[in-house]
């Protein structure tokens, strides 16, 4: 594993390995000394062309728990905002001696470019690129799902996948890197995925995706779902006529109190509600749903650190010269 760019080309074995390692990393988070020396002396650069405080601090915590040095490079107010190219930034990081680059970029494929060019040799971790992928988010979601699935089935988590699990991903699929990364990874791990969205927020060409597509959230929930993943929807989308207004959106595709009550009424006591954050309370998810015992929002955040530790550990340990990629 040289880079982590997408979940589309992540093998089942590699995915399970990351989740298994994350399990051990999570245990570190419960200790008094929350630190491992594995990446001592290595430098991880968080290269954020887009603001994302939560993702950045999650990667930062992960790198620091592994004893790596962390440099945060934010594009705002830096040379990048003055027109410096991705290439020049990458070459600068190479010259500084970055051992790994965690990149968040508004352009789909920017991490793939860094990985494919000779601008920088370091392993590249995609921390979200445009509307393409956000693989560590999908891994932390899969980790959360696997914990839940093992609990429900009374099995152990290590080495297992999500076979038989039914997951609904709801909301702005078109613009969501989280949805794409989750779809590929959950399928690789054997889960069944239903995408629920207004037709305007499904990408043209998604009809061939390995999932069920639904326009009806209530029908999907009534069909029996083990986890509902709500996606952030931006209110501005209504100005581009993706939906008439936020009121209609949340009535048809939001996880509101009525749907929460319906889950209870249908006896779906084990169904969890997930959200990658940050949440728009009252738009795609009601406060009652976000704060209910079904909600895994905070568990996802804490799992994020463990999963990112596992990824950084795998990319930065082992022989870097070995030509293999994800």
């Amino acid at each position: 594993m040289k880079h982590l760019l997408s979940t589309l080309d992540l093998s089942r074995a590699d995915a399970i390995r990351i989740l298994d390692i994350a399990e051990e990393m999570a245990a570190v988070g419960t200790r008094e000394v929350k630190k491992l020396p594995a990446l001592r002396g290595r430098t991880v650069v968080n290269l954020f062309f887009e603001d994302s405080t939560r993702t950045r601090i999650s990667f930062e915590a992960a790198a620091k728990r592994l004893s790596a040095d962390v440099i945060n490079f934010s594009a705002k107010g830096s040379s990048v905002s003055k027109g410096e190219s991705l290439k020049d930034t990458a070459q600068t990081l190479q010259a500084i001696g970055a051992d790994a680059v965690v990149i968040r970029h508004g352009a789909s494929g920017a991490p793939a470019r860094l990985a494919a060019t000779d601008w920088i040799d370091a392993p590249v971790v995609n921390a979200g690129d445009g509307t393409h992928e956000h693989p560590t988010q999908a891994l932390l979601d899969a980790f959360t799902l696997r914990n839940h699935w093992a609990r429900v089935n009374g099995t152990s988590t290590l080495g297992t996948d999500l076979a038989g699990m039914k997951v609904a991903i709801v909301g702005d699929i078109l613009h969501s890197r989280v949805a794409r990364s989750n779809l590929w990874l959950l399928r690789t791990l054997g889960a069944e995925v239903t995408m629920v969205a207004p037709p305007t927020l499904l990408p043209h060409g998604s009809n061939v995706w390995p999932c069920t597509i639904s326009y009806d959230l209530d029908a999907t929930l009534a069909g029996g779902i083990d986890a509902v993943m709500m996606l952030r929807v931006q209110g501005e989308r209504m100005h581009a006529s993706f939906f008439p207004n936020t009121r209609e959106y949340s009535r048809l595709w939001g996880f509101d109190d009525a749907r929460l009550a319906a889950l209870d009424a249908q006896g779906q006591s084990e169904t969890i509600i997930m959200h990658p954050g940050p949440m728009n309370r009252g738009l795609e998810i009601s406060s009652a749903a976000a704060d209910s015992p079904r909600s895994t929002v905070l568990e996802q955040v804490s799992n994020g650190v463990a999963v990112r530790m596992a990824v950084l550990y795998l990319l930065l340990s082992g022989d870097q010269q070995r030509p293999s990629g994800l």
Binding site: I21, E24, D319
Partner: protein, 196 residues
């Protein structure tokens, strides 16, 4: 190490010779168990931490023998597993290793007498890593080391307190420890292979 051992066993090298049989291992473990009790003047505060993969089943066997000497002592309560992967000094150079769980006994390790248990003592680097790992987990009163085989060639100032068998080897040779818990039923032996 398990992958290497499995692969090597499948290849069945011609020059492999057994240096400890299953019975030898039983006898040696019994002796080490007694030595541990004697050094500790009893079983009070004893914790056995096995280093995966084969140190852990050896620690379990030692714990069973120690518990047998004292009615009411539960073997499971004094044994744990200590993974040292993240503390190794060769993480950059070998292929990426998958860490295994670290599990401490319920009583923890603070102020305990911790006996580290491993199958083979060689360069000493694994034990160095284990000492660092222990320091992050608590503060034992004493840390001792028990190994099934000491094959020499130390690269660090580390020695074992309890040794099953001192085994003079050449660096070109490989020492393989097979224990049933890891390597399958009735597969208990220590063999030396000529790596050539």
């Amino acid at each position: 190490m398990s992958n290497d051992a499995n692969a090597a066993r499948n290849l069945a090298p011609k020059t492999a010779r057994t240096v400890l049989s299953s019975e030898d291992i039983d006898r040696v473990l019994t002796r080490i168990a007694h030595e541990i009790i004697e050094a500790n003047k009893g079983t009070k505060d004893l914790v056995l931490l096995g280093i995966p993969s084969r140190g852990f089943p050896l620690a379990q066997r030692l714990a069973q023998r120690i518990a047998a000497t004292e009615p009411g002592l539960d073997a499971a309560a004094i044994v744990g597993q200590l993974d040292v992967t993240m503390y190794r000094d060769d993480l950059r150079h070998s292929t990426a290793r998958t860490p295994l769980p670290t599990r401490l006994p319920a009583g923890g390790i603070d102020d305990k007498v911790v006996v580290l248990v491993d199958d083979v003592l060689y360069s000493g680097r694994t034990i160095r890593a284990a000492l660092d790992a222990i320091a992050d987990l608590g503060r034992p009163r004493i840390v001792r080391l028990a190994v099934l085989v000491d094959r020499g060639h130390r690269e660090l100032p580390i020695r074992a307190d309890h040794v099953g068998k001192n085994l003079p080897t050449a660096t070109t040779e490989k020492v393989r420890v097979h224990v049933a818990e890891v390597d399958g039923v009735d597969n208990n032996e220590v063999i030396i292979e000529d790596a050539a």
